[in-house]
Symmetry: C2
Subunit: 641 residues, 2 copies
């Protein structure tokens, strides 16, 4: 095995887009959409392929606009309360709204103003104006006038306007056909449990979903394993029946990545490697007059590069302008350095904390699908920019409606499964309060409150000296911030261990003596403080604990490592052990509180949260089902400043 | 025939909504959505019926985050440029991005930093940190953690997150089934040419379209003719298989309107008549525990009342919050009086003219489908408010994206078919400039320019004294406004007459002598000035022209009345006669100019317009095909001030 030739350029984004756009223009890609005629009833959401003109006028005749009688306005010229005019048969005719106005009449008197003398005669006390209460022919639209221009997305009202004016069939543009070809021998189908090294193939579902939302007809093909000839055959076939072909993965410089070689052999690689992060190894190629795009394998990279390169292509293909993505101004809660020489796309969590919309960077891993599920927006740090400072105003491209962001409670701090329980109860029904929670440990939560990033922080920081929870930390780090410390629960902490306790662990001494693989929590986590206190109390040197340096950020990820067999034990809560069917050696009961700044206590979202904690029987039942919790002080104010 | 009992109340909107909401709560309507389990791949756009939790962690194993080699970080502790560390077989293993990290290793060194000494040995010059370039198990999400709350609309990224964590089936809420029953013997199917008194049934398509966009599964039923028993049978059947039933038309107090009677017999009418305009006769009823809503027959009334009463019902049924409609601030270009005692919903055309977004009321007729096609937004004039003054800031509910509004050229003034030609050429392709045109005659256009409502106005006002077009009117009415008057075309004006000229018309004298039915244009229209000048020149008294008082607003509506046989002749342009296959008696050639305020001349939209007029061969060809035009001065500046 030898180091392979790494040939991925770092072309500026603008240049890459321009180069590919010119290449696509040369093959007439933007003029290649076919048109087809369909029934107007079926045309909702389709794009007009030609202007649409009215076939007949609307109304097509002079129509009564009210229920009443049709009259000749001149007959009523002298009508008054004192001297009402009497009309006899042939001088009027009863009409309902929408009825054709007979040619001899030129006005309608509404029923409320008509006095029937007998069945054949009426008396009227008010004069009429010509054409009153009449919808005259062509009042709305006249035959041959323009209803819809070309390149217009057909709305329900447009369907109505076409049908109303005699248009029953409409020429529409055919959406671009796109095939997504997943590549990689490690891919397995959804529904299978992945063995180590295997990856569930879900990228094609995500990519197709977005492409279809953008108006394409996209579908995933069967995955192709790492075989150059198979890839070549699949691409050759796909370009014959598709408007765009997407190869997912195989775009980086790994040893198995044949995509760029195959594309260069089959056609022309216009761009390989763009100065963007994530998404650098993207390939923009053309094979047999069909655009073929190699997207990176990581889902987040694939989605972001697809947004950059393919979103606009689809709209241009359909002869439409790409809709402008909603943006908002927000204030950065912490500084971000720019990536040297690359445009960087940063996932952002937004929180309306008071008057300010605060932006906090979220999840960096390109493989982290959940980071995009959780993200509210994207911040672009331009190549060559100096980054942004804490407190600086930035523009964020929104991934969900601003109103949804504004109805979100931002929880940053220690994680507890009860936060998920609360998230569900808050989202249910008309309340529709979303909880965005970041698990950064208790100390991280206190810092988030200090920076104004969060509405509340979960915390269980034990002060070794006083034996008290949270208060001394608040006094030290949140000195000038008025707030309340409200208890959420007491919970059992202990060692999470494999089912059946194969290593016969009864406490930390066993972990040291038996040289077991321990997994620790990060600095600043309440559980870390508890661990350190236990080790100190028992005179165990941390360096005797194997894995003391391997830090995880949540109880659940500690439990997952143990369930998976890669670690033997770690400190965590009973709920986490229960959730993954693991065993548990109790060490202590600890207090878990919520830190809530005073200024948010009147916020209806926080009020709703506290109301659930204090009063909801459903909440109590769900928590008790988790196990290991005690709600004796739940909702109680433990401290205020 | 006797005047029927008119029993439609005028209940305030808030009260009506509250009353109906309580009634719906009593029948548990909002808890009646069924749930069903479907494959995650099919779940795009569906609403979660229960919270979704991760089945396994992601990553499910410790995975290499880079291409390179897996190592034990401790082995590299002393590595430096001066003293690189050599690793032999078993101390490392090559890994590609995504590969499982064997349990004995705890770090990855990226390929760029690896120096292969031979196939089995590598040299490394940099120490490693624990777990560098490794995606540790559960880093993204851990088994049992919450992925999606209940009542969440599933996005492509959510599908990916579910599949990535072993969730392959998801519980979703079943969308409400809605049937729309059109009523009325006058209804005919689309595709038939309506005889006088007949109406094409297109409301059910429009209503179903919006309901489906809001997440329901709605379809139109076959129309029911005006027969009480048939209506009763249809409703009785529909409530058994639908979550909501809509009766369209039959809600007002016309002689054929049985809906409320039938509903009162079958169930309970909760509300009949709400203080809104349009939409007053709406019926809110419950039959056999199913909501049945009678919407007014006019399409605009039906759509607006559906937005008021049914939009939110669908979201509540799905346990979701109704998305907030986009709104914008705009400045009224003219005063609007409020409707006494009724909330009034006014269709609005918006125009970004300079810095200001100007709002102009558009189309009042409740039957005018095109008015809603053209409208950009809705202004609500609350019952009891004093209306709004010209120049006042108002809030407009948007019917199309603000960016689309901002890329719209607002044309108000005299209508000419060339404006439609320009609209199409401007909308095509990447330009995507929309033209919103209101046909109010030349003088109306001048007033719109004065009020700042329009980017340009088409005008052909003949000054009797000077024989010159437009300039004297501009000097008089637009005194202080810097502008350019740019010629669009010369065009033939004349009498539009029926095919074959059955009345042997050679000019106005025939119209007077033969007492033919003439249709006039409105005051302020250029064609009206021309008509008046011709009558004066020929010494014909307007009162001798039958129909001189019947005014229409466009050439095409004049032509339509003649094509329809309700009128014998009217003044208009050759293009209008040609479009409807009518004959034409030429009277004069007139000049048609565009008035463009100086401040808009640098606007790219206006620049694009002028570029098409001056340089586009396609434009010239399309205009020449219309007939009756001469483009000899097209694009020439006729006057500036």
């Amino acid at each position: 095995m030898s180091q392979k030739d790494i040939y991925v350029k770092n072309m500026p984004l603008g240049e890459a887009k321009e180069k590919y756009h010119s290449a696509l223009k040369k093959i007439n890609f933007f003029d290649s959409a076919a048109t087809t005629e369909i029934a107007v009833e079926e045309a909702l959401g389709q794009i007009t392929g030609a202007p649409v003109f009215a076939v007949h006028s609307s109304p097509a005749y002079n129509a009564a606009a009210m229920d009443g009688i049709a009259v000749h306005f001149a007959d009523l010229a002298s009508a008054s309360d004192a001297a009402p005019v009497r009309l006899t048969e042939k001088q009027f005719v009863p009409v309902n709204t929408g009825n054709n106005l007979p040619l001899e009449f030129d006005a309608v008197v509404m029923i409320e103003d008509v006095h029937y003398v007998n069945e054949h005669e009426v008396e009227l006390a008010i004069p009429a104006t010509p054409w009153q209460h009449v919808r005259t022919i062509g009042e709305d639209i006249v035959a041959t006038e323009l209803i819809l221009p070309v390149g217009h997305r057909i709305r329900p009202i447009d369907q109505g306007a076409m049908l109303a004016t005699g248009v029953t069939r409409v020429l529409i543009k055919e959406a671009p056909q796109i095939t997504i070809i997943p590549t990689g021998s490690e891919l397995i189908q959804p529904g299978t449990t992945p063995a180590p090294g295997q990856i569930i193939e879900f990228n094609s579902i995500i990519l197709a979903g977005y492409l279809n939302e953008w108006g394409a007809v996209a579908k995933g093909a069967a995955p192709v394993c790492d075989d150059k000839e198979k890839l070549r055959a699949t691409i050759s076939k796909a370009v014959k029946t598709n408007d765009i072909v997407i190869i997912n993965a195989g775009a980086s410089a790994g040893t198995r990545d044949y995509t760029s070689t195959v594309l260069a052999e089959l056609g022309e690689v216009i761009v390989h490697g763009v100065a963007i992060k994530p998404g650098k190894p993207v390939i923009l190629a053309i094979v047999e007059n069909t655009p073929v795009i190699g997207l990176p394998g990581y889902p987040v990279s694939a989605i972001l590069t697809m947004r950059l390169f393919i979103h606009e292509m689809i709209y241009s293909f359909m002869d439409m302008q790409k809709p402008v993505t909603a943006k908002t101004q927000a204030r950065m809660s912490r500084p971000m350095h720019s990536s040297m020489g690359q445009d960087e796309y940063v996932r952002i969590t937004l929180g309306q904390v008071g008057e300010e919309l605060m932006a906090t960077p979220a999840g960096k891993g390109a493989g982290a699908v959940m980071s995009l599920v959780r993200a509210d927006g994207i911040l672009t740090l331009a190549a060559g920019s100096e980054g942004v400072g804490a407190g600086e105003k930035v523009e964020i491209e929104l991934l969900r409606p601003l109103t949804e962001v504004q109805s979100t409670l931002v929880a940053i701090g220690s994680h507890d499964n009860i936060i998920d329980v609360l998230a569900n109860l808050l989202h249910k029904g008309s309340k529709a309060i979303r909880v965005s929670s970041a698990h950064v440990g208790s100390m991280g939560g206190i810092m988030a409150i200090k920076r104004g990033e969060a509405h509340f922080a979960g915390s269980h920081l034990l002060d070794e000296k006083t034996g008290e929870y949270n208060i001394s930390f608040i006094k030290r780090f949140l000195t000038d911030i008025p707030l309340q410390l409200i208890n959420l629960c007491y919970r059992r902490q202990g060692l999470i261990i494999a089912k059946g306790n194969p290593h016969k662990i009864s406490g930390f001494q066993d972990v040291a003596d038996k040289k077991l693989r321990f997994i620790n929590r990060q600095n600043g986590a309440g559980t870390r403080l508890l661990t350190d206190k236990m080790l100190k109390d028992q005179n165990i040197n941390p360096s005797d604990i194997s894995g003391y340096d391997h830090e995880e950020y949540t109880h659940m990820s500690v439990a997952a490592s143990i369930a998976n067999g890669s670690m033997d034990c770690g400190m965590g809560i009973l709920a986490a052990a229960n959730a993954l069917n693991l065993d548990f050696v109790p060490i202590a009961e600890e207090r878990y509180d919520l830190i809530i700044p005073q200024k948010f206590l009147d916020d209806t979202k926080i009020q709703t949260l506290l109301n659930i904690i204090c009063n909801s029987p459903e909440f109590k039942e769900l928590v008790n089902n988790l196990g290991g919790y005690n709600l004796r002080d739940s909702g109680k104010i433990m401290y205020r400043q």
